[in-house]
Amino acid sequence: MMEDHNAPDLTEDEKKLFEDLMPEDLDEILDTGVNRRHFLKLMGLAGGGILAWQSAAAEQVFTRSPSGPLPDELSSATIENGVAVSFKVNGTARKLTVDSRMTLLDTLRERLELTGSKKGCDHGQCGACTVIVDGRRVLACLTLAATCEGRSVQTIEGLANGTAGAPDRLHPMQTAFLKHDGFQCGFCTPGQICSAVALLDEAKKGEASYVTESIRSKPGPVQLSNEEIRERMSGNLCRCGAYPNIVAAIQEVHSGKPVEQTWQLIG
């Protein structure tokens, strides 16, 4: 799974970051010619530890997505009712043969090494697997990979790419989640953020929700109240209870105005 001949070697930035995180491993890593995907993966693993603070360099490094096709490593013997599918994931064409039973979520996680999307319930009741398909937020756990032929899938790993004006930086929603502490354990976070990003588009299109008072009004861009954001984000459960912070993060990006963070120390 790690062999990826199309992936470039580490950039200087990445080497620097790696050295900061795992100085003792750097020589070995460089000697064995580790590729970018492996590097990015390692960054998230136990070996790395956590570098305090987020330097701009770190943001850039962490948020570039790997490119190039993955080898289809499963032999056809292990795939039942194989369906060949070609689709785009984070802008990159992917082609593979899947068991007809395989969900998009399991395909991303088990076949494409995109483990950002999470399996919280596997039944469409938690939202942790939310990804954006053809511009719409959907649940990868209830989407068969076989139905994705020709579709374009965006996952958390691809969100930082392609933001107008800042192609290599975090998506503003990711930055806002960081600032507002819109998570604790982080397991629901990729789904929350994908959902929130798509929600902004839905607001621009003027789509309504169950709490929208003026349902009969002509669809057009709407300013969402916190109540609207809450309702529209209710498909993404957060068991840590970061909801107020999630709403603040989304409101900040949506309204374009800073949302105040409040706590008090008294006495």
């Binding site: 919280g120 709490v211 209710s234 008090q264």
Partner: protein
């Protein structure tokens, strides 16, 4: 709280945040282990009896299947090695519905999941004890000595003679932790050694339990668990799935991944037990408490006892001369109950603080005033002085910030359109302890650039551990925060306490602080110089031209800590809006005021408190696991049936911390905030519902049907 030039106490964004918002943080099943096989568990469909026959033939023949493991062919495991809840496939005996009875390992997840459905099992059923309403009459004194009857004075007599009293039974249902990440493991054997990528609140506990159960040396088990997708107690003790993954990997001689399904979570990893709590309060006309009795009846597993301490808050919250705290427990054919956020205190405070509210109403006294009148100066349960106690400040500051004076004392006086508004208050507490933890710090200098690496086998389940430890180390070493690397969640690191019982922050931060001080001391000693002003470790690395230096400490709680009673305290204020027609309740506003010692990072601390509050709101309004008393199965097996709060359930949340400098609890004065945030919340909401509607709901959750 913020000291000059210190990063500790400042609202730093979490240092692991960037990995979490980019999807790069690797949870247990995210590791790209090569040549992996997939395991799926299958479970009993009866609650009591034995397996008569088990036909694994069709499953074994199913495409891609590598092995089917049941009690008939499972390797022998030690059943008392520290794994909770049994279900280790060691016998045909069934003790609860949904007990693991085997697992399938296959090339793909799809193949394993399908084959697990093909196993045919026949049982010899015996009568299952699953109806708590009936069985509660058979409950007996727990074996746990901590749960012996605790009497002070004569509460029963005082109650008989009381002018004002409340006697009521408060019911809380079974609840499930349901962390968003189901319990998951990847097991990879390397010779005699097994690496378990797992989700563990107690890294060393998981290591010990796995090693003992597998009958291998502790050092041959490595637990890797840097990110945990929530735990809330369910990932404190380790359950059979951890060890069974290792067993499966051994059997198929390949790495194996096993994730519980959401449905399997209800009978695999513990639960919060159902409680009947009878609380009796007696008081004088002017609100002096004269008696407090808190009698809890609950259930445990057939073979193992676990009883959450519902009477704990009642032991210490109020000055009362006559006190009675009792527990009775009945074994049932359900999975072993376990620690669940704010164990005992969250559920116990619902009963106690509802009763206090009932008493205040009866006395026509403001519930805050009633509480202030009964504030104890020492711990009433043992006479020890408080290390610090902030209940009074929490109530008074909270009342100011919340606008308590605008509350209507009489119920149903605040109607706004289709809704009745109500306001409620309730207090809470949780013990503050430091546990032994080791830590290692390594400094490295390149020219004048110095970096530090902090390592310990601590856990961060979203609590902010990585961040507060980086802050602690930065200040203790004299380094900027961005030069600190924190590595946790690996049993190869110096052993540490678990992130359980609100001991994480104090245990870890004190260990990290100690090791940084020790390192500085050692560098000073090494220099052989006398310093007028104590230099920082960072300065010493440069002045003494040291390239690399590391040291380790085994930190222990202060020797005299047990001479004091140390707890975090809070006061919770809830505003609810009840739909008059439908009974639907929304918590429109919530304020928690908390005294929890030194707040290392107000941003992450606020999230901890609000997270606890959200749990409390779930407890108050939506969460309930329901057992069918005929068969012992849960009918609430999914997030569609078990309602954890959704975003729209949560209104405006506010957190206030009371400054405290409690160096008695521990050297840094850190008390812990993971649990106290849920304590008192359900009562505050229920009291607000009473204030809104005049209906006293004593059975949680407060679903619409109860308010019609």
């Amino acid at each position: 709280m913020q000291e000059k030039n210190k990063v500790t106490g400042t609202p730093v964004s979490r240092i692991d945040g960037i990995l979490k918002v980019t999807g790069k943080a690797a949870y247990a099943t995210d590791y790209p282990v090569k040549n992996i096989a997939y395991a799926v568990l299958f479970k009993s469909t009866i609650a009591a009896g034995t397996i008569r026959s088990i036909d694994t033939g069709p499953a074994e023949k199913s495409p891609g299947v590598l092995a089917v493991i049941t009690h008939k062919n499972a390797p022998k495991l030690k059943t008392d090695g520290g794994i909770r809840g049994g279900a280790l496939l060691q016998s045909p005996k069934i003790e609860f519905h949904g007990q693991h009875i085997g697992l399938v390992v296959a090339e793909t997840y799809e193949q394993a999941r399908h084959a697990a459905r093909l196993v045919k099992v026949e049982y010899d059923k015996s009568e299952a004890k699953v109806d708590f309403e009936k069985l509660s009459k058979e409950a007996v004194l727990p074996e746990d000595k901590e749960k012996a009857d605790a009497k002070r004075g004569d509460a029963k007599a005082a109650l008989q003679n009381a002018e004002f009293k409340v006697e009521a039974v408060y019911g809380t249902p079974i609840e499930h932790h349901h962390p968003l990440e189901p319990h998951s493991t990847i097991a990879e054997w390397q010779g005699e050694k097994v690496i378990l990528y797992n989700s563990s609140q107690i890294v060393n506990g998981a290591q010990n339990a796995a090693a003992a159960t597998l009958n291998i040396k502790t050092e041959n088990v490595r637990i890797v668990s840097p990110y945990i997708g929530g735990g809330f107690g369910s990932k404190g003790g380790q359950w059979a799935n951890l060890v069974l993954t290792a067993v499966a990997a051994k059997v198929v001689n390949r790495p194996v991944k096993l994730a519980l399904t959401r449905q399997q979570m209800v009978n695999s990893v513990g639960l919060r037990q159902q409680n009947h709590q009878k609380v009796s309060l007696a008081a004088t006309k002017d609100g002096k408490l004269t008696a407090l009795a808190h009698e809890t009846t609950t259930h445990c597993a057939i073979e193992n006892e676990f009883v959450e301490p519902c009477g704990d808050c009642s032991k210490i919250m109020y000055e009362v001369p006559n006190s009675l705290i009792t527990y009775r427990v009945v074994p049932m054919n359900l999975i072993l109950p376990t620690y669940t956020r704010g164990p005992g205190k969250s559920t116990g405070s619902f009963a106690l603080e509802s009763a206090v509210d009932e008493l205040a109403y009866q006395l026509k006294m403001d519930p805050i005033e009633l509480r202030l009148k009964n504030e104890p100066t020492r711990d009433p349960s043992n006479g020890k002085p408080w290390s610090s106690r902030t209940t009074v400040q929490c109530l008074q500051e909270g009342a100011k910030a919340f606008g308590w004076e605008k509350r209507k004392a009489e119920p149903r006086q605040n109607q706004q359109g289709n809704f009745l508004m109500g306001h409620g208050v309730a207090c809470g507490t949780y013990p503050a302890h430091q546990r032994p933890s080791s830590a290692r710090v390594s400094l490295n200098r390149k020219g004048n650039a110095i970096t530090a690496r902090v390592e310990l086998a601590a856990a961060d389940l979203g609590t902010g551990t990585h961040t507060i430890l980086a802050q602690t180390a930065a200040d203790a070493l004299g380094l900027p925060l961005n030069q600190i690397t924190v590595k946790l969640g690996d049993s190869d690191l110096p052993p540490a306490a678990g992130s359980v019982g609100s001991v994480g922050a104090s245990s870890y931060a004190n260990a990290v602080h100690d090791v940084c001080v020790k390192l500085t001391d050692e560098l000073i000693a090494k220099s052989g110089k006398q310093f007028f002003v104590r230099p920082t470790a960072a300065q010493l690395m440069v002045s003494e031209n040291v390239a690399d230096y590391q040291t380790r400490v085994d930190a222990k709680p202060p020797a005299n800590a047990d001479q004091y009673s140390s707890h975090s305290f809070n006061a919770n204020f809830a505003e609810v809006r009840v739909d008059i027609a439908t009974g639907m309740v929304r918590v429109t506003r919530f304020l928690a005021v908390t005294g929890a010692g030194k707040i290392l990072n107000p941003k992450t601390a606020r999230s901890q408190i609000i997270g606890g509050n959200v749990w409390g709101i779930g407890m108050a309004l939506t969460e309930e696991s329901v057992v069918d008393p005929r068969w012992g199965n849960f009918v609430t097996r999914s997030f569609g049936d078990y309602h954890v709060p959704a975003n729209l359930d949560i209104g405006a949340m506010e957190a206030i911390f009371i400054r405290e400098d409690d160096r008695v609890s521990n050297a840094l004065g850190v008390k812990g905030i993971g649990e106290v945030g849920i304590v008192g919340v359900a009562a505050a909401v229920a009291n607000a519902v009473f204030n809104a509607t005049g209906k006293r709901i004593r059975e949680l959750p407060i679903t619409p049907d109860k308010l019609l």
